[in-house]
Amino acid sequence: VTEHPILVVDDDPSILRTVAEILEMEEYAVETAANGAEALQAVDRVHPWLVLLDMRMPVLDGWGFVRALQGRGVTLPIVVMTAARDARRWAEEVGAADYVAKPFELSDLLAAVERVRDGAAG
């Protein structure tokens, strides 16, 4: 689709690794970050076309990350990934394109990514 990667942000190393491998299997380029601060650096470095974003993270959480992006005038489609009961509301709060509630089915995650990809293409 594009040379730019998907940026996956999650403080849980197992989830981060697994989500990255799922996307790589579908031949997406992937970059990972363990918190919002690392994610900001990655955005500057690799210019992702999509961010899969966990919300509750140490150092800089999902809300802080989105605020920082807005502060820099960067707009990026975001898919929120959270185990919180308020997944939908949190996704709305940060103006996300979509969300997947943890624990998600592999197919739901890929479908959310495809929706953003196809929306962006069409």
Partner: protein, 359 residues
């Protein structure tokens, strides 16, 4: 004292009308002996009734007639009505307090269930996603070698789930006084050093300040759990990173452990309830800090069942906190006697007034 259906105040209650008797023994000869015994010659009684609910009777006794006149009936009826208002407002206040307590308990339970679900979902997410990934790979390419790392990840996350379930069960064990089992000689120094190494990261440095050795009779697994809990909290509640100081020293026959962080601190109002089940600090934003509110409750159980104590101090929000654990080096001789088993309710009430002690 006066049955509702008889004696003169009982008549006021039954009839819901004020009653004046200038000669009680004559008006109610059946109970003459009792009136005589209490020197009650004349009686003025009015029902206390609020919103058609009979609350009681206001009765005024006089030793000699005629203290009261017919006019006083109106006065006593008025006093009865006033008493009704006061009693009713007390009932309402009690009821409101009950409702508040129930709402608070329901809210804590709700928060707890939501946090428990969240904590269980995180490893579950890794297990489900990783298992489905392996499945999809195997279907696409049945000849591919087994992804050992992927399988290991599933095992690790499944064990994390098991740990969480154990933590939930520990709550019951803490309440029943069954956390601590086998006590054996344990040197706390290597345990503290290893825990510090285990929890150190790029963001958080743990500095152990320890003696050469400090051996006491402890349940090794529970002490490890205590250390992990306290050090994990120090990391979790220091989101900006920083240094955590872990000091261990001996005083007479007692081990002292302090864990001091520079994190978000503890508001004074939370200190007295810090070790309560489900309690989470007022400055603990649910969005930033996942948790069940069980860690410190279990820590308190572990320490108490070792015959020790745990307390917390904090200079205030944003200024870090210190947890102080005191553990006697030897098990009390009477430990196995049934009399030592504490009732469940003591789990919270026996905590020393941490706030006062601290501030």
């Amino acid at each position: 004292v006066v049955p509702a259906d008889h004696m003169i105040p009982g008549r006021a209650f039954a009839s819901q009308q004020p009653v004046l008797s200038v000669n009680a023994m004559r008006d109610d000869p059946e109970h003459a002996a009792r009136y005589r015994a209490s020197n009650a010659t004349t009686i003025l009684a009015a029902p206390i009734t609020a919103a058609e609910q009979r609350l009681g009777v206001l009765a005024i006794f006089g030793e000699r007639a005629p203290i009261f006149a017919e006019d006083d009936l109106e006065l006593v009826a008025l006093l009865g009505a006033q008493a009704a208002v006061i009693l009713e407002s007390h009932f309402l206040i009690d009821e409101a307090a009950d409702v508040r307590a129930r709402e608070e308990a329901a809210r804590l339970k709700d928060d707890f269930l939501s946090a428990a679900a969240h904590d269980l979902k995180t490893p579950l997410t890794a297990v489900v996603a990783q298992a489905q990934l392996l499945e999809r790979r195997a279907r696409r390419n049945p000849e591919a070698p087994i992804d050992v790392q992927g399988v290991e990840r599933i095992v690790k996350e499944a064990q994390r789930l098991k740990g969480l379930v154990e933590e939930l069960l520990d709550v019951t064990r803490a309440e029943q006084g069954k956390l601590v089992h086998r006590r054996e000689p344990v040197d706390l120094v290597p345990l503290v050093r290893e825990a510090c190494e285990r929890h150190s990261s790029t963001w958080h440095t743990f500095t152990p300040v320890v003696e050469e050795s400090l051996t006491g009779e402890y349940d090794r697994q529970r002490i490890l759990q205590l250390l992990d809990n306290l050090l994990e909290n120090a990391v979790k509640y220091s989101p900006d990173g920083g240094e955590v100081r872990v000091a261990l020293w001996r005083e007479n026959d007692t081990a002292h452990l302090t864990v001091t962080d520079n994190g978000i601190g503890i508001p004074a109002a939370d200190l007295p309830r810090l070790f309560d089940r489900f309690h989470r600090g007022g400055n603990v934003d649910d969005r930033r800090f996942a948790g069940l509110g069980l860690g410190l409750f279990i820590c308190h159980g572990i320490v108490e069942q070792h015959g020790g104590s745990i307390s917390a101090t904090s200079p205030g929000p944003g200024r870090g906190s210190t947890f102080h654990v005191v553990l006697p080096c030897h098990a009390p001789a009477v430990e196995t006697a049934p009399a030592v088993v504490r009732p469940i309710s003591s789990a919270t009430s026996s905590i020393p007034a941490v706030g006062e002690q601290a501030l």
